[in-house]
Structure formats: structure tokens, C-alpha cells
């Protein structure tokens, strides 16, 4: 990290007090405008104006000098955070943790986190982004726009730029939220010019001379400054002659005047200026290196004294650069080959002096590629770890293709940076090419990195070789390079989840979590945790999974103890687990929160739609059918059926399930016939839920034999893979089907298995959601935990006031029920509630189901017993 970039430039003694401009800057602060834009070409004194303004205001100040390398968003954000931390050390802490893993997380997550941290800034401050015109990256514009749109109360953003930034400036203007200072404002007027020459050059100019300069320079500050330097200390006749000559020609002002100024210096200074100007920054040592002399310190002191465009970059007077305009002129003093020579020597010097990244920059510029490649190999791990993929890829792209492709090491980083920058097609294409390189080089670590990417991509593409590749990657990587190891373990864990047993997958993911946690990788460790909790949901290790969610929500917190945005994703498994425990309201709140978090991070289909589907079930159980349907519709609308066929199929199955719950058997059957997977297909973890919907539909349709055939296979599938969390549902539905087939003994045994497992892990919901027939079977079950059994059985609900099952009657159903109790017919109820006869019937049937009764009178009696309805007066 270059500290010089966040250094607040020293204010120069202002030769002319630009009160009118300073007042306008003041006014912006006083009126609490969030934004100041200073937009004008080079050499109009933009930076000087701001540093002078800083002298007179008392507010915390932060400064970031941008350069073209900051178009790497990760680099930009790292520096932005470092800049914010000059105001307050805690600001941006959480965002900084995310940065190193930015390739793995959606960019939005970072911006949201950073924005939250800026919103919580402890005191008012001014943030200057200097030279913003170098920024071309779309995502940086979006981030800056987002920050401004949220109008953080303590932030005043001041942007210095040579061109208007791609932000919605008209909106800021219309809303009067921006102070704007432009070229017209920055130009010196005649009065300012006169004052300037008398202080800067000690020369009193005649009015017509000032006017002539005004015409020639159009008030361009840089030109006037050079003119002042040229005539400093001259007699008035000389000055008149100079002004005449100057205004009488058309040459580009900088070229004309710089020659004047340079001609007044010594040859050794000229050499020093021309060579050091090639570099973006230099110090005395480097100056000596480039000139072969040992007088750089002295020369720098003289340049500073003479006010010769030298800009100190730190307060220790160690690093310097020239004003951009003059650096450009100075560079034309050298021939191309002389410039390359300077760059070569600078590359060596930077590499030898612990600044290898600048070494790479100049080695690439000078075309010494072997040297650049070697430096890159030593630096790539660090740059990669910082997440600066754009920088890494830029460097690699500047190297000759043969050099990169000939090295497993460089090729590996190229493939990874392509992939992490979202160019996965290119990455895959590139990986295919690297197959040939492998033979030439046997560095296992470099090979392991390539394999880690192959494994990850194979995992994404559901390639059956994922496991094999991931295992090989883990073997090659050993204990080095935790990031690649984590990635490989995650691929392996996912592959195991798909192919083998869940316990193996969970154990692998725990390893990934441990590795990531030790390495301080927040996102991968949270990602692994999320995968583990979801595995445990399937495995039926409900209590362990809940424990993990609570643990993570306590561990991954910000400075105020609130869960981090990323950690809020754990509300999703937690919500699912609470639904299964029938804690419906809490479950709804958690799922809503988790889904919100996933959206603000930019993940729209997290966990294959499990979150949305469970939330819809929660709404359903709470009687809020409309919200359930709405949610499903929204989730479907957000899913591209072609790109995510598996998720799409699951939504369609879920739709059929809701139809079934609604009593629309023909609708559900239609899905089974047309869209549903054929029951003869092999069962996979993704297809299990759709198959369960088929089994339930067949059962409701009275096709018990078919249902049983399918359930047998699902049972076997779940048992073999220890998917006990799913087996609960399979066992309950199996019990119903067996009962219908007249195989009562087997039905009871199946129900017993479900009950015994559920009582240990606290599953309640599965017994309430499969229909009223469950209650009858439960009566026949001999359970190891009679208390738990009692709680499940509907008639005992009356002894459990406020139990979760009361939720099962919706407000609408209660309304209908009260009218039933009042003796109204379905038709009368429909008229009264403005709903159709069909809807009334549907509500009534649901009420019967939920209350486990067969007719209206029984329903009213049962509802009174349960306390849903007041008993009619005696």
C-alpha cells in the first residue's frame, strides 16, 4: 500500500487569495450539500484551491490521489478504505475483510457493507477524490453513485477531475445537492492576474500587459505561473519584451514557457528533470541511480525552493512527482530509447528496494519481459490474495503469450483471474490450453492451483469428475495456499453431497471451514458454514445445525455486535430449521431477513430456492395463502428456466405441491403427467423434493400402489445416504400410503420411526403438514417419548394453549368458521365475504382438514374446544 496516495497535499502559500471560490466551497458545507465537483482541465489550480480551503476549515479531512491503476475495483476500494481510516480507524474494517475475497463475492456485497460503514461514521469529514478522471471502471462509478445517493450524513465528497464523471450530475444540480466549480470559475481574472504577478514574480505589470497576458493565456493558471517564473526578478523593459514575444506567437504555452524556464537552469538539472519525469514518483536515491550522480538531494531542494513544479507526496519529503503538465513536457526531452533505458534502471531499482510492483510496472513498460515475468511470479500470490485480479490480469496480458503459457505458475494465475473476473468461458478455454503445459513443469503447488480451478468449474458444471479432480488438487496443494485448498475442499464437499453420503460431505466442508477460518477468509468460511448447516438440515441433524447458525450469528458481527451482512445469510437455514420445529412466526421473520440479505448482496437464487420455498410454506401454514403464491411467482420470475433448469423444475414441483394443499388434485396431477419427472428416473438429491410431491399427489389420487413404489425407493435413497431430515417426511407419507393399502402394521412402524427420530431432533411440522390422517395413526404409535407424541396429536392441542399449531387456522378461515357457527350456508357466507362459492367450499374443506372433522357441526364443536371460537351462550 502506497502511503503517498492518501497523503493530504500541503497547501502552497496562496499567491492570490481566491476568496470568491473559497466562499463557495464554504457555502456547500454550510448548506449541507453532500457533494462538491471541481471539474476543469489540467493546470487550473484545482488541487491548490482545495488545499488552501483546507487551511481554513475545521473538519476531518481525507484525501485519495487516484491513478490509472485504481481502475482495478479491489485496488480502488482498498485505497478508499485506507483513506477513510485516516479519519477513523474503525471505518471500513468489515469491508476490508471482504476485499481479499472479492473475486468470490458479488461486488454489491462489498458496496453495501462499505456504505453501511460510511453511514455509521463517527464524525463529519470531507473525502477528496483527486484526479477522478482516470477512473473508467463502471463498477466504481456505480459504487460512488450509490454512496452519494444514500447521502451519508457525515460525509462530504469532493471530487477533483479533468472531465465530468459518469454520475447523475443533472440530478444533483436540480436537487441543489452539489457545489460545482468549473473552468470558467477557476480562470484568473484581470485583478487576480495583476495581484499574482506582483507577489509571484515581484513584477508590477502595466494594465495593457496584463490584458495581453489574459488574451494569450485565457486566465490559465499553469500558463501564468510559468510566465511568472520566466520573468521573476527581471527589469520592466525585459518584461515588456517578453510579454510582446509571448503574446505574439501561437505556440503551445507549456512548450514555449518551459523552454524559457528550463533554459535558465543548469545542464545537470535538465538531465535530472528529464530522467526523473519518466517515473510516476521518485526520490533522491532513485534520482542518483538514474543520473549516475550523487547530487539529487541538493537538486530536489533547489527545485523546491525555485517552485519548479515539484510536488511532495508525503510529509517526510521522501517521495516526489512533477505536476502532470510539466512531467509531460519534460518527457519529450528524451528519445524513446532513452526513456526505455530509464524505465529499465528504475525497474531494477524498485525491485531491489522492496517495491516489486513498481518494478513490474517499469519492466513491462521497458519491455524486459523475462525480468517482469520473474518478478510477477514472486508477487502474484500476494496480489492474488489481495484480490486485485484486474491488476494481475493486466500485467499478465502485457507479457508475451508464450511466456505466460509456458509457465504453469503464470498460466494458473491467468486462468484464475479470468474466472474470478467473471470471464468463466475464457477461463475454461484457457484451462484447456494449459493441459499441454503441465508436462513441462512439475511444481506441484502451481499444478494444484490449476487443478483447484478445474475442480471448481467441474463442480459448477455438475461434471462427474469433480471429486477426482478436487482430490488431486488437495493432494498437490498440501497445506500451502489455504485459499486454493478451501476451494478444492468445497468442490469436493459439493461433489460428495451429490454422489455419496452426506456425512462425508459434511466432514469435508467442516475441513474447508476450518482452513478458511484459520486463514481469516471470512467469505469462504461463511460459505462453508452455510453449506454445512444446509447439509445438516438434510441429514436431520437439526439441533447441531441450529447451534451452528446461532454460533455464527454471534461470531460474525460488526463492532456493535450486529451480525454482518454476509452472516445474515445464516438466517435462511435457521428459518428452515425453525419451520420444521413449527415456530412459524420466528421462522417467517428469519427467512424474510435472510432473503433480504441475499438480495442486497446480489445473490438471487441462494441455496437452489430452498429459502423461498420454505418461506412460502410458512406463509401457507400461517394461513397467508396469497403471500405464498406471490412469493412463488416472484421466485419463478427471477429464475431463467434455461440457465437454471434444476431450480426451475423444483419451483414447478413446488407449485404443484401448493395446488395439492389447496385441494386442486387435478392441477397437481396435470403436473405429474406433463412436467414432473418420470417416476422411473433414478433418484438424485435435487429430484427428491419433486418426487415427494409426486408421491403425495399419487396418494391423494388414490393411486396407492404407484405411490408406495416411489416411496420405497425414496426411503432407500435417504437411508443409504443418511438423509434423515428428508426421511421423516418420507416415513410419514409412507405410513399414510401403507395404511390406505391396508398394511396397518407397517404403517404404524413407519410412523413410529418418524416419531422417534423427530422427538430426538425436535421436528414438529412434518406431522402437521401431511394431512389429518396423520393424527389417527399417531394414536396407534408406541413412542419412546410419550410427551413428544402427545404434543403432536391434534386433540391434545387444547391442553397446550398458545401452541404453535393454533397458527394453522388463518384469519380468513376463522371468519368463515364463525359464520358457519352462526348457521350460514356456503352461499350466504360467500355473499357476506364477497368471495365465490368455490372459495368458500375450499376454505370449509381446509377447516375440516385442519380440525380433523367431517362435518360442520363437528367443526364448530372442535373449534370451541380448541378455543378458536367462543362457545355459544348457554
Amino acid at each position: 500500500m502506497l502511503r503517498t496516495k492518501t497523503h493530504v497535499p500541503k497547501s502552497r502559500p496562496d499567491l492570490v487569495r481566491r476568496t470568491r471560490l473559497l466562499d463557495r466551497l464554504d457555502e456547500g458545507l454550510l448548506m449541507d450539500k453532500p457533494f462538491t465537483l471541481i471539474s476543469a482541465p489540467a493546470g487550473y489550480g484545482k488541487t491548490t484551491l482545495v488545499t488552501n480551503w483546507f487551511e481554513r476549515i475545521h473538519r476531518a479531512k481525507a484525501w485519495l490521489s487516484l491513478d490509472e491503476h485504481d481502475n482495478d475495483p479491489v485496488r480502488f476500494f482498498s485505497y478508499l478504505i485506507a483513506t477513510l481510516q485516516t479519519v477513523d480507524l474503525t471505518m471500513g474494517k468489515e469491508s476490508a475483510k471482504l476485499l481479499s475475497e472479492s473475486g468470490m463475492i458479488p461486488a454489491q456485497a462489498l458496496v453495501v457493507t462499505l456504505l453501511n460503514e460510511i453511514l455509521k461514521a463517527p464524525k463529519p469529514f470531507i473525502l477528496v477524490l483527486d484526479d477522478f478522471h482516470v477512473i473508467k471502471n463502471e463498477s466504481i462509478f456505480r459504487a460512488v453513485q450509490a454512496i452519494l445517493d444514500h447521502h451519508p450524513p457525515f460525509l462530504h465528497l469532493l471530487m477533483i477531475t479533468r472531465e465530468d464523471p459518469a454520475l447523475s450530475l443533472p440530478r444533483f444540480r436540480v436537487r441543489n445537492q452539489m457545489t460545482e466549480i468549473r473552468m470558467e470559475d477557476l480562470r484568473f481574472d484581470l485583478v487576480e492576474m495583476g495581484a499574482f504577478f506582483s507577489t509571484a514574480a515581484g513584477v508590477k505589470l502595466k494594465d495593457e500587459e496584463v490584458a495581453a497576458l489574459e488574451v494569450r493565456t485565457e486566465g490559465w493558471v499553469a500558463g501564468l505561473q510559468l510566465a511568472a517564473l520566466s520573468i521573476k526578478g527581471w527589469a520592466s523593459e525585459q518584461v515588456s519584451e517578453f510579454i510582446k514575444a509571448f503574446s505574439g506567437n501561437h505556440r503551445y504555452i507549456i512548450d514555449y514557457l518551459m523552454e524559457e524556464v528550463i533554459n535558465r537552469t543548469t545542464p545537470e538539472i535538465r538531465v535530472f528533470l528529464a530522467r526523473t519525469a519518466v517515473l510516476d514518483r521518485f526520490n533522491a536515491e532513485l534520482g542518483d541511480e538514474l543520473t549516475g550522480e550523487s547530487n539529487s538531494k541538493k537538486i530536489i531542494a533547489r527545485l523546491e525552493q525555485a517552485n519548479l513544479f515539484l510536488i511532495p507526496l508525503d510529509s517526510e519529503c521522501r517521495w516526489y512527482r512533477y505536476h502532470h503538465l510539466f512531467a509531460q513536457f519534460l518527457r519529450t526531452e528524451l528519445t524513446k530509447s532513452e526513456q526505455i533505458h530509464v524505465q529499465q534502471r528504475a525497474a531494477l531499482w524498485f525491485a531491489d528496494n522492496g517495491l516489486p510492483e513498481e518494478g513490474i510496472k517499469y519492466a513491462l513498460a521497458a519491455g524486459v519481459f523475462d525480468f517482469a515475468g520473474d518478478l510477477l511470479k514472486t508477487q502474484a500470490p500476494r496480489v492474488f490474495q489481495r484480490g486485485e485480479m484486474v491488476t494481475l490480469l493486466d500485467w499478465l496480458n502485457l507479457l508475451p503469450v508464450e511466456l505466460v503459457d509456458g509457465s504453469v505458475e503464470l498460466a494458473g494465475y491467468k486462468a484464475w483471474s479470468l474466472f474470478l473476473l467473471g470471464k468463466s468461458e475464457e477461463a475454461v478455454h484457457y484451462l484447456q490450453r494449459t493441459d499441454e503445459i503441465k508436462a513441462k513443469n512439475s511444481d506441484p503447488l502451481a499444478e494444484g492451483r490449476l487443478l483447484a480451478l478445474r475442480g471448481w468449474i467441474a463442480n459448477y458444471r455438475e461434471d462427474p469428475r469433480t471429486k477426482e479432480i478436487a482430490l488431486l488438487a488437495i493432494e498437490r496443494l498440501g497445506d500451502q495456499d489455504p485459499f486454493f485448498r478451501e476451494v478444492s475442499l468445497m468442490s469436493l464437499g459439493h461433489a460428495q453431497r451429490k454422489n455419496d453420503s452426506m456425512p462425508e460431505s459434511t466432514a469435508t466442508l467442516y475441513k474447508a471451514y476450518d482452513t478458511a477460518r484459520t486463514a481469516g477468509h471470512m467469505f469462504t468460511s461463511l460459505g462453508a458454514l452455510l453449506d454445512i448447516t444446509m447439509n445438516l438440515v438434510i441429514q436431520g441433524r437439526r439441533r447441531e445445525s441450529m447451534g451452528l447458525c446461532h454460533y455464527a450469528l454471534e461470531q460474525y458481527v460488526d463492532s456493535q455486535g450486529k451480525p454482518l451482512l454476509m452472516a445474515e445469510l445464516l438466517y435462511i437455514p435457521l428459518g428452515i430449521l425453525l419451520y420444521e420445529g413449527n415456530d412459524l412466526k420466528q421462522s417467517r421473520d428469519y427467512l424474510e431477513q435472510g432473503i433480504r440479505a441475499s438480495h442486497s448482496i446480489g445473490l438471487n437464487r441462494i441455496l437452489g430456492g430452498d429459502a423461498e420455498q420454505t418461506l412460502a410454506l410458512v406463509y401457507w401454514a400461517l394461513g397467508d395463502f396469497q403471500s405464498a403464491w406471490d412469493l412463488l411467482e416472484k421466485a419463478k420470475a427471477n429464475t431463467d428456466a434455461k440457465a437454471f433448469p434444476i431450480i426451475w423444475d423444483r419451483y414447478k414441483a413446488f407449485e404443484a405441491y401448493l395446488l395439492l394443499n389447496q385441494g386442486d388434485l387435478s392441477g397437481a396431477l396435470a403436473w405429474v403427467e406433463s412436467l414432473g419427472p418420470k417416476p422411473v428416473d433414478s433418484i438424485t438429491s435435487f429430484k427428491e423434493i419433486p418426487y415427494m410431491v409426486i408421491a403425495r399427489t399419487l396418494y391423494r389420487a388414490g393411486r396407492y400402489d404407484q405411490a408406495w413404489e416411489l416411496l420405497k425407493r425414496l426411503r432407500q435413497f435417504d437411508r443409504e445416504r443418511e438423509r434423515y431430515g428428508r426421511l421423516v417426511y418420507v416415513n410419514i407419507v409412507s405410513a399414510l400410503v401403507l395404511q390406505a393399502l391396508g398394511r396397518r402394521e407397517e404403517a404404524i412402524r413407519s410412523m413410529e420411526e418418524a416419531v422417534n427420530f423427530a422427538s430426538a431432533e425436535g421436528y414438529v411440522r412434518p406431522f402437521l403438514s401431511e394431512g389429518s390422517e396423520v393424527g389417527e395413526l399417531l394414536l396407534a404409535v408406541k413412542a419412546s417419548n410419550p410427551e413428544f407424541l402427545k404434543m403432536l396429536h391434534p386433540p391434545s392441542i387444547s391442553s397446550l394453549p398458545n401452541s404453535g399449531t393454533i397458527e394453522t387456522l388463518s384469519l380468513r378461515e376463522l371468519e368463515v368458521l364463525s359464520l358457519v357457527a352462526a348457521g350460514l350456508s356456503n352461499e350466504e357466507i360467500g355473499t357476506k365475504l364477497f368471495i365465490s362459492l368455490g372459495t368458500v367450499k375450499w376454505h370449509v374443506r381446509n377447516i375440516f382438514g385442519k380440525l380433523d372433522v367431517g362435518n360442520r357441526t363437528q367443526a364448530v364443536v372442535r373449534a370451541q374446544q380448541l378455543g378458536f371460537l367462543k362457545k355459544s351462550g348457554p
Partner: protein
């Protein structure tokens, strides 16, 4: 490759041709300079315009020559 003609205010030195991607610099009598020649693509053109901006030069016109 496309041919462009760029007119800017002020006379700039011919030795700056390197800076402007090899465009030929002609000094015009009205105190303007003309940069003309082939430009690789739009990105190269914008690179040249940026350089003009960075030098604080005033742009008078940019024309594509067919």
C-alpha cells in the same frame, strides 16, 4: 483503421507526434494545429483526446475523413 483530423488551438511542437499516436502535426496560420492520420480504433482515438485534455489544450474539432 480510420482516418481522423483533429484541430486544436495553439501550435504544438512536431516532436510531440509520438504523443499523439503518430498523427502528423501541421501548424495552421490561424494559430491552430492540425493532427491528422490513421487511428487504430475508437479506443486509440479516445486516448489521443485524453492526451489533448491532459495537456490543457483546447479542442476545436474532430472529424472523420472518409
Amino acid at each position: 483503421m480510420e482516418r481522423y483530423e483533429i484541430i486544436i488551438k495553439g501550435h504544438i511542437d512536431q516532436r510531440r507526434e509520438d504523443w499523439f499516436a503518430g498523427l502528423e502535426i501541421t501548424l495552421l496560420s490561424g494559430g491552430e494545429s492540425r493532427l491528422a492520420g490513421e487511428v487504430a480504433d475508437q479506443a486509440a482515438l479516445h486516448g489521443i483526446l485524453n492526451r489533448i485534455r491532459d495537456m490543457g489544450l483546447q479542442l476545436s474539432s474532430v472529424k472523420r475523413q472518409d
